[in-house]
Symmetry: C2
Subunit: 138 residues, 2 copies
DNA sequence: GCTAAAACATAGTTTTTTACTATGTTTTGT
DNA sequence: ACAAAACATAGTAAAAAACTATGTTTTAGC
């Protein structure tokens, strides 16, 4: 039960954006270098985030990325859904519904676990993570 | 973020044992057949559970398995630790401590998520799962 | 004692997923 | 024009997961 580098790298990218001064652009290559992530791989990851609509991209020389929304309006649940694909601990909760579902002894347990994880992710925003970080600094 | 078939099959095996009348043995081959799991694979999984000490095995013809403890004394956290290997959503919480750990922005977030998942698993026992099942029957 | 049936054990193989690379195209400031 | 950035897809390598194969050991029943 591990989260992929996709999710971890993507989160780090977003945190870097959130830490950026309002309106300032940050280049993907810069983040890739600082965070020691392959630029090509990071591009793929960032692309997965685009449909979420939280990124503002400026193309061409001198371009870069910025957040399109305030960090406290961006929930971890949304981020995880786009990076990880899905969150559920077992596939049958969201897809591949198995035919034994209604007589499945463990299904209810998985559903509860799923709801626990999701509700935590729902309760957290990008801003919370940054805030926790700032607290540590003094 | 999916749990492996190891964990899911192993859990189903334990539930079958828990549903068994007190002291009665259940054969692995029987469970494998009923649950449509490869017997050889299920054997591997069951072996991973042995160090937990919740299994009583009787070898030889007419042998089988039974629970060595009451279902309400067997926590989901223990089961998951043995089947999944570890629970933490990222490796650096339990091993592979990275050298940037103390300046890691996301580490605290991962730790909180980890604790949420673990505390849920700690709160649940095999007995709870069986009980939830019994409720559904009438 | 022999045999069949069960648990016990390890190594190997296949399949799937993850992580990453290669090779471009498009856009835009200078 | 050109360099630097985002955008996009396909391919590849490595790792993990899922399973198979091939045994050994134990024990009840004949």
């Amino acid at each position: 039960m591990k989260f992929s580098t996709r999710t971890r790298y993507g989160l780090r990218f977003l945190i870097r954006l959130a830490a950026q001064p309002e309106g300032e652009l940050l280049q993907l290559g810069q983040v890739a270098h600082d965070e020691n992530i392959s630029p090509g791989y990071l591009e793929q990851i960032v692309r997965a985030l685009k449909p979420l609509g939280i990124l503002r991209a400026v193309r061409g020389a001198g371009g870069g990325y910025a957040l399109a929304r305030r960090p406290d309006e961006i929930s971890m649940e949304d981020i995880f859904l786009h990076l990880e694909g899905e969150i559920s601990p077992v596939a049958c909760l969201t897809r591949d519904q198995c035919r034994r579902a209604d007589q499945c002894v463990t299904r209810n347990f998985w559903r509860q676990l799923d709801e626990h994880i999701r509700s935590f992710l729902r309760s957290q925003t990008l801003a919370d993570i940054i805030a926790a970080e700032k607290l540590c600094l003094h």
